[in-house]
C-alpha cells in the first residue's frame, strides 16, 4: 500500500509547458504543428495555449532579430529551427515565467501566421506581445471585430456535443461616454463584467448598450446530469480584439472553430488591402476603401468632430487636415511604414480611405483597426458608386 502511494506521489507532474516544448521541438516542419493539439492535455489555471494571429510576408527570423534589439529581449533560434525561438527579457534577474519558447507557425490562410506559446501570462505579456507589437510594419497583428467574435463563438457552440454549451464568463467592455468630452479626457468608459451568460445574450446586451468587447473569457461547459440544469466548466478560453486567443483545453475545437474562423475574416480583409498603393498600381489609383456603418452616424456634426479628434491621436503618424466640417478630409502618413492615406467623410454612413503613393496591407489593417477600436466598427469594402 505504501509503495503504491509512493509511486503515485513520485509520478512526474504533468508540466504543460515542458510537454509543449518537447512536442513542438520534435516537429520536422511548422506545418505539422496542428497535429500536436490532440496530444495536449488540459492545462491548469495559470498556463494556457496562447496565440497571436498576425499578417506577415517574408522572413520572420530577420524581423525577430531586429525587434529583439530594440525591445531588449533576447531571442534565439531554438534547436537551429528557423520557426522556433527561445526568448527572455535581457538584463533582468528574470523569473522563470519570463522566459520561454515561441513558435512561428503558418496559419490556414495566405500570409497569416500564428505566434504560439504555452506559457504563463507573464511571458506572454512581457515578451511575446511586446515582440509582436514591435514587429510592425513587417508583421501586423490582426483585429477581430465584434460580429466576427460573435460568429466564431456561435460556430464553436454549434459544433459542440449536445450536452455542452458555450458561455461567456467575463468581458472587458468599452462604451462611448454620453457626456460632452473634454479634449484631454478619454471618450470611453471601460467596464469589466462577470457573467455566466449565453453568447447571444451577452452580445445582444452589448449591442443594446452600444458597448464592445476588448476581450472576453468564454467557457465550454458540460451538463452535470441528463435532467440537471447545472453545468460545469471543462475548458476556458479568452479572445482579445487585438488578434489574441488563449485556451486551456479543447485545443482542436477552439483551433478549428474559433481561431480559424477569426483568421479567415482577417485574411479576407487583408486580401482586400492588397495592391492599393498608387505606385505599385503603375500610377493608376485604387478606388477608395470604405468603412460602412449601419446607421447614419455622421448626421451629427459632433460625430465628425469626434472622428477628427480621434484621427489626430493616431499613433506614429502625422496628419494634415484639409477640411473639418461639414465634411472631413485629412491626409494621414504612417511613420513606421511610410504609407499614407486620404481620409474622407462625405456621407452620413461611411468613411472613405483613399490610399496614396504607398499603401501596404499592414498599414491599412493598422488604420482600420484604430478607427474600429477608437471610433466605431464598420464593414470594410471597396467603395463603388
Amino acid at each position: 500500500m505504501e509503495i503504491t502511494i509512493m509511486a503515485r506521489s513520485a509520478a512526474p507532474k504533468y508540466d504543460p509547458i515542458q510537454a509543449f516544448e518537447s512536442w513542438v521541438s520534435s516537429l520536422s516542419s511548422p506545418n505539422n504543428f496542428f497535429g500536436i493539439l490532440p496530444m495536449l492535455k488540459k492545462f491548469d489555471d495559470h498556463v494556457q495555449l496562447r496565440e497571436s494571429i498576425i499578417y506577415h510576408k517574408g522572413d520572420f527570423s530577420s524581423v525577430i532579430e531586429r525587434i529583439s534589439r530594440i525591445a531588449k529581449i533576447e531571442v534565439n533560434n531554438y534547436n537551429s529551427s528557423p520557426w522556433l525561438f527561445s526568448a527572455r527579457i535581457i538584463g533582468e534577474d528574470s523569473a522563470k515565467e519570463n522566459e520561454g519558447l515561441l513558435a512561428f507557425i503558418p496559419g490556414k490562410y495566405p500570409n497569416m501566421y500564428r505566434v504560439i506559446t504555452v506559457s504563463h501570462s507573464l511571458f506572454w505579456t512581457d515578451v511575446v506581445r511586446k515582440l509582436v507589437k514591435r514587429s510592425y510594419p513587417e508583421a501586423m497583428r490582426v483585429f477581430f471585430k465584434q460580429n466576427e467574435i460573435h460568429d466564431a463563438l456561435k460556430i464553436l457552440e454549434n459544433n459542440t456535443e449536445n450536452n455542452l454549451r458555450v458561455h461567456i464568463l467575463d468581458g472587458t467592455l468599452k462604451a462611448k461616454r454620453d457626456t460632452v468630452q473634454n479634449r484631454g479626457r478619454s471618450q470611453f468608459n471601460t467596464d469589466r463584467v462577470w457573467r455566466d451568460q449565453s453568447v447571444d445574450e451577452m452580445f445582444e446586451e452589448a449591442l443594446e448598450k452600444n458597448q464592445w468587447f476588448t476581450s472576453l473569457t468564454f467557457a465550454i461547459q458540460r451538463k452535470i446530469g441528463k435532467e440537471s440544469q447545472n453545468y460545469f466548466t471543462i475548458a476556458k478560453g479568452k479572445i482579445s480584439k487585438f488578434g489574441e486567443v488563449y485556451c486551456d483545453s479543447y485545443f482542436e475545437e477552439i483551433e478549428e472553430y474559433i481561431i480559424t474562423t477569426l483568421e479567415g475574416y482577417a485574411s479576407e480583409r487583408l486580401e482586400l488591402y492588397q495592391m492599393r498603393g498608387i505606385r505599385e498600381r503603375d500610377y493608376k489609383p485604387s478606388p477608395p476603401l470604405e468603412i460602412k456603418y449601419n446607421i447614419d452616424i455622421f448626421d451629427e456634426v459632433e460625430e465628425i468632430r469626434r472622428f477628427g479628434r480621434t484621427m489626430v491621436k493616431y499613433p506614429e503618424s502625422s496628419i494634415a487636415v484639409f477640411h473639418g466640417n461639414p465634411y472631413y478630409h485629412a491626409n494621414i502618413a504612417d511613420f513606421a511604414d511610410g504609407s499614407s492615406f486620404d481620409i474622407w467623410i462625405l456621407s452620413p454612413d461611411r468613411v472613405l480611405i483613399a490610399p496614396q503613393a504607398r499603401s501596404t496591407p499592414q498599414a491599412l489593417e493598422r488604420i482600420t483597426s484604430y478607427i474600429f477600436y477608437q471610433f466605431r466598427e464598420g464593414a470594410v469594402k471597396e467603395y463603388a458608386e
Partner: protein, 361 residues
C-alpha cells in the same frame, strides 16, 4: 519686424486649397456628366480627356492667330464631339475690366482648333465652356452678354456656354454643375446641364491633385510632398543624431517627375501639358528651407530634406509658418540682397524654362 497680419491665417490657406481641389473636381464632374450622357445610348462610348492640352489656333483666330491655346480641359467623344473648357474657381472683381482677359481666352478657343484626337487633328464644331464658381457665374454671364449686345465682341461661332459649379451639402456632399449662359451641342446635353446635375463628391475622389494651374497655397504641395513622398523615403535614410532628423537627398527634377506621375499629368505626347511644374515644386522645397526642414545644395536642383516625425498637430499649422519666416527674412536681410537677387534670378530661369515647355503659361 514683419507684420504678421499681412500673412493669411491657416484657415485662409485651407480655403485656397479647397478652392483648388474643388476646381479639379468641377472639371471631373463635368467630364462625368458628359460621359454619362453619351453612355446612355452606348455604354462603351470612349471618352478622351486631357487636363491641359496644347491646341493650335488658325490664321483666322481673332485673339492669337497661328499660335497655341491651352484650355484647362479638352474632352472628346468619338471623332465627332468635343469640348474645350476653361476653369475659374476664383474670379477677381471686375475692376479695370479685368474680366475681359477671360472673355478673350474664350474667344481664342472660338476657332477651328487643331489638336483633337482625330486623324486630321480637327473637330468641328467644338463646344467652348467656361467652368466658373457660382459666386461670379451670373455677373460674368451678364458681362459677356453685354459685350455681345454692345457690339464689343462678336457672337461666338462655336457653341459656347458658361457652367457654374459649387459644392452642396445634402444628405451627402455633392458637386453641382449647371449651365447658366449660352448653348451647347447637342441640344439635349445643353438642356440637361441647364437643369443642373449633382455629382457625388465620393465618386470624384481620384489620384489627380493638380491641374494646369499652380495652386495658390504652396502649403498644398508641401503637404503632399511631406506626407506621401518624404514619409516613404525617409525610411532607411541617414539619421542625424545631433539634429535629430533624417536626411533625404532630393533631386528637383526627379521629385517633380515623381509628383507628376502620382498626382498630375505626365505624357510624352507633345501636345500634352505636364504638371505640377518644376517651379511649383521648387517653391515648396524653398519653403521647407525657410522652415529649416531642408537645405539647398550647390547648383539648382539638389536639396536635402531634414525629415522629422511630426506627432500630433496639423501639418498645415506648421507649414504655413514659412510665410512668417519669409517675412522676417525679407525684413532683416540687408546684406542678403545680392543673394536674394541671385535666387530670384534662378527662379526666373526656372520660370523661363517652364515657359519654354509651356509656351502660353
Amino acid at each position: 519686424m514683419p507684420n504678421e497680419s499681412d500673412i493669411p491665417d491657416v484657415d485662409e490657406i485651407r480655403q485656397k486649397i479647397e478652392e483648388y481641389e474643388t476646381t479639379i473636381m468641377g472639371l471631373r464632374a463635368l467630364c462625368k456628366v458628359i460621359s454619362d450622357h453619351y453612355k446612355v445610348d452606348n455604354p462603351t462610348t470612349p471618352l478622351r480627356t486631357s487636363f491641359g492640352r496644347r491646341m493650335t489656333t488658325s490664321s483666322a483666330n481673332c485673339v492669337h492667330p497661328n499660335n497655341t491655346a491651352t484650355p484647362d480641359a479638352v474632352i472628346q467623344i468619338e471623332d465627332d464631339w468635343g469640348m474645350v473648357v476653361e476653369a475659374k474657381r476664383t474670379m477677381p472683381q471686375n475692376n479695370n475690366d479685368r474680366w475681359r482677359n477671360t472673355v478673350d481666352q474664350l474667344r481664342k478657343y472660338d476657332d477651328n482648333l487643331v489638336g483633337w484626337w482625330t486623324s486630321s487633328g480637327e473637330l468641328i464644331p467644338a463646344n467652348i465652356t467656361l467652368l466658373i464658381d457660382v459666386d461670379r457665374s451670373i455677373d460674368f454671364s451678364r458681362y459677356v452678354q453685354s459685350l455681345i449686345d454692345n457690339g464689343e465682341i462678336s457672337t461666338f461661332q462655336n457653341p459656347t456656354s458658361i457652367i457654374e459649379f459649387f459644392k452642396k451639402q445634402e444628405v451627402k456632399q455633392f458637386l453641382h454643375v449647371r449651365q447658366v449662359w449660352g448653348r451647347l451641342e447637342p441640344n439635349n446635353l445643353s438642356q440637361k446641364l441647364e437643369g443642373g446635375k449633382s455629382i457625388s463628391v465620393e465618386g470624384l475622389i481620384d489620384g489627380q491633385r493638380f491641374y494646369d494651374q499652380e495652386p495658390e497655397a504652396v502649403e498644398y504641395t508641401m503637404v503632399l510632398l511631406w506626407q506621401t513622398v518624404f514619409t516613404e523615403r525617409y525610411i532607411g535614410t541617414k539619421f542625424d543624431e545631433l539634429a535629430k532628423v533624417w536626411l533625404i537627398d532630393v533631386d528637383l527634377d526627379e521629385l517633380t517627375e515623381s509628383l507628376q506621375k502620382l498626382y498630375g499629368q505626365k505624357s510624352n505626347e507633345a501636345r500634352e501639358r505636364t504638371f505640377p511644374r518644376k517651379r511649383w515644386i521648387k517653391k515648396a522645397l524653398d519653403a521647407f528651407v525657410l522652415l529649416d526642414l531642408a537645405f539647398h545644395l550647390e547648383g539648382n536642383n539638389k536639396y536635402v530634406v531634414k525629415f522629422k516625425r511630426f506627432r500630433g498637430g496639423d501639418l498645415f499649422q506648421r507649414f504655413y509658418k514659412h510665410r512668417i519666416s519669409a517675412k522676417k527674412k525679407d525684413a532683416t536681410t540687408n546684406f542678403g540682397q545680392l543673394e536674394l537677387f541671385e535666387t530670384n534670378k534662378l527662379d526666373q530661369n526656372l520660370i523661363e524654362k517652364d515657359e519654354d515647355v509651356n509656351s502660353d503659361d
